[in-house]
């Protein structure tokens, strides 16, 4: 019977067990207090049951010592919970360096996923076991939330910004993906399955699926097709800044401030170039690509700019 009514979902990622452990700790503390409180209520309510109509209670004003005790003990316990939970959370907030990079775009009411190698899928996700996977996510419309209970992880997916999520699957099988943030009529149908496969099966699956361009290839194509390259190249007459090797560095702006060249910044530069002007370049020269590039295209361009300068050959290609 207990088999049919499990108390926690499958533990299918490396953090599932640590999260459950913390959960059990909190349950133990809660159950302890709930028990103490209900036992005391029952004992007091029966032992001090009103005996005669005119019986008087003891006169007790209070006790500072007791107040201190029942302030300090719960405080100490909550601090343990806080520290433990925070460490777990930060482990998940820090992205591993060597992860497989997926992109996820949410829209009413589906999840569009692209693999590092270019394959696309809708709602479902296939991942290899034992490999950190990093999802860079955005939304085309309202807020969604990518939730995999078996991995104990979730992250809101917000239009206009990139959110990130990573996990390392630790158990083969198929698990549910839900949208956890209410997003309109078919919210409860914005669901899918994640399949955890062995590395071998994953590669088989990849070769079976129609391989599109990888995000980096698509980005490279767009960089030429959308004429970015006419302004952004390393020639001396270039009208725009050279983007080679920029990703992750700080950029000085005309205003004197500086800004980190990250995904959000690239996105803003493409959709709203006037927002920040690079020092030494003409404001208003770069056209906005609002409405011409889809969210996935921008994700591809970002993927491409990340690789630009990371290896020298790509740098050469951009300069040509």
């Amino acid at each position: 019977m207990w088999k049919d009514l499990p108390l926690y979902p499958e533990q299918a990622s490396t953090i599932a067990q640590p999260v459950d452990l913390l959960y059990f700790f909190l349950i133990a503390v809660s159950a302890f207090f709930a028990l103490v409180i209900s036992v005391l209520i029952v004992i007091f309510a029966s032992k001090y049951r009103k005996s005669r109509p005119d019986a008087k209670s003891a006169h007790i004003e209070g006790s500072t010592l007791l107040e201190v005790i029942w302030t300090v003990i719960p405080l100490g316990l909550t601090m343990v919970m806080f520290a433990w939970g925070t460490i777990l959370f930060f482990d998940q907030a820090r992205m591993p360096a060597d992860a497989l990079e997926f992109t996820v775009t949410g829209k009413q009411w589906m999840w569009k996923v692209q693999h590092p190698t270019g394959q696309r899928e809708i709602n479902d996700l296939h991942v290899p076991i034992g490999k950190p996977c990093r999802l860079t996510m955005t939304s085309e419309d309202v807020i969604h939330s990518y939730y995999i209970p078996a991995f104990r992880t979730k992250q809101d997916v917000v239009a206009g910004r990139y959110s990130e999520l990573w996990f390392e699957a630790s158990k083969l099988g198929t698990y549910d993906i839900y949208c956890a943030e209410y997003c309109g009529t078919e919210h409860s149908k914005m669901v899918g399955k994640v399949t955890v496969m062995t590395q071998q099966d994953y590669e088989m699956w990849l070769s079976g699926a129609v391989a599109n361009e990888t995000p980096v290839q698509a980005g490279e194509r767009l960089f030429t097709a959308m004429r970015c390259i006419t302004c952004h190249n390393s020639t001396s007459t270039a009208r725009g800044p050279d983007l080679t090797g920029q990703f992750g560095k700080d950029v000085r702006l005309a205003s004197g401030a500086s800004v980190n060249f990250d995904a959000e910044y690239v996105r803003e530069s493409i959709l709203n170039p006037a927002a920040k002007t690079v020092e030494g370049f003409q404001a208003g020269l770069m056209p906005t690509y609002q409405g011409q590039l889809k969210e996935e295209d921008i994700l591809s361009l970002i993927a491409y700019l990340k690789t630009l300068g990371a290896d020298k050959s790509a740098q050469g290609a951009a300069a040509k």
């Binding site: 003891a58 006790s63 956890a180």
Partner: protein, 560 residues
Amino acid sequence: MSSTLHTPAQHASATKGAKERDTYLTADYGWKSWLFTVDHKRIAVLYLISIMVFFLIGGTFALLMRAELMTAKGDLFEAETYNKLFTMHGVVMIFFFLIPSIPAVLGNFLVPIMIGTKDLAFPKINLLSWYIYLVGGGATLYVAITGGLDTGWTFYAPYSSTYANTNVAAAAIAVFITGFSSILTGLNFIVTIHKMRAPGMTWFRMPLFLWAQYATSLIMILGTPVLAITVMLLALERTFHIGIFDPALGGDPVLFQHLFWFYSHPAVYIMILPGMGVISEIVACFSRKRMFGYHFIAFSSLAIAIFGFVVWGHHMFVSGQSAYAGFVFSFLTMLVAIPSAVKVFNWIATLYKGQVSLETPMLYALGFIGLFTIGGVTGLFLAVMGLDRHVHDTYFVVAHFHYVMVGGMVMAFMGGMHFWWSKMFGRKYPEAMGQFAAVVIFVGFNFTFFPQFILGYMGMPRRYHQYNDEFTALNVLSSAGATILGTGFLMTIVYFLWSLKWGQKAPQNQWDAKGLEWEKAQSPPPTFNFEDGERIVVTEDAYAYTYEESHTGSGHEVKK
């Protein structure tokens, strides 16, 4: 407030025999005497009737939802209808039942009597607040009838501001309007408690119910304007496409969440603090004992009100808010849990060496302590960031806040209504029925909401019209519990109404309780609360159950 103020009621009472003095209920007849009344007690009754109407509406929505969730497939309603049901359930229950329940009904009725005065500081503003509430409520019903609302009670942008096809602007305006009724009530209570306490009613002689009302009022006047601004901005963006929250217009959707929760977290305390005040009164009376750690309970109300304003980010750990902000919010949330725990321990310590009796109000109070404890500790699960990543936006959250709101606030409201029923209407409710219904409600409540904790940890997201088969068993259990719970509430409403006419006549002090409302005011009280011309002077602490001779006071009375 001078003695030159004479109403027809007073003249009438002078001619009648001492036995049949006029009460606030019989002082005047006809609908005008109700709709234009400035008597805080009549306004409390008007509020009571209106919030009960909304409670029944909101409860009906809840039962319809639970009916849909009996099966995994979304087969009873269309997805859109289901979304409207949970939205309207939330909006109606929170803004039109929970927030006004204890303050506007019990608070309105009791605050002036408990401090020994004739009325609130601004009786007309008090009436105005009820009218504003009605306008807001009417507008909400208009929205419900003309197509409903499907944004969830949280109104998250940009869904609400751009994508929803329902009448969001009208709903936003309804919430905007209703906010003013709580601001006015809060203002009235604060001024009244500051300025109109009877001689001798020092701050630390006030019943703890008043401390709770005071703390609640602070939140109402400081927090509600932020909600008003937020929904106004939402309506502006929706109507005029001014980019505030929608990224497509250059806005920031996470900003909406910050503004919304800046009000709505403290609003949780608007919904629970008054309940805690009621519990303090009941526990003291039915243990026949002074409240253990009076000062700690009083100050914990203020601490909750203040700290409650700096923890809103715990609703947003996975929203895209910075992890460092999350760190601070998680820490502060741990701190705000402590004063609530302190209250629970003090209530229990009050039972120690008391003379405990278990009439209906006390059953609700003890039920409150247990359920609120569960609601409180499960709040910690959500405030711990590493766990919240998993349980956020699942049924775990739904279960948690129903333990606090229904297991806490509604139980306290029920307890308070039973405790002061004879004071309000002069009749006793049937005690055995009351105890029976209290047990039914307690059992039904746990059947309804406990399974939802498990559902949540298993990963069932909230606001799902259809769900995976594996969740069916627990959902059926929950729906079955809801019918028990609903039956309990209906029973209560029926015997309360029955008692108005057929209930046993109550003496002035049904519970032999301490407090001005019991010791000095008849049941029901006359229009100006106390005997004509009687000057109320307070000579003893609240809850003087254990002092030698209660009426001459004790060694504690003179502090000079």
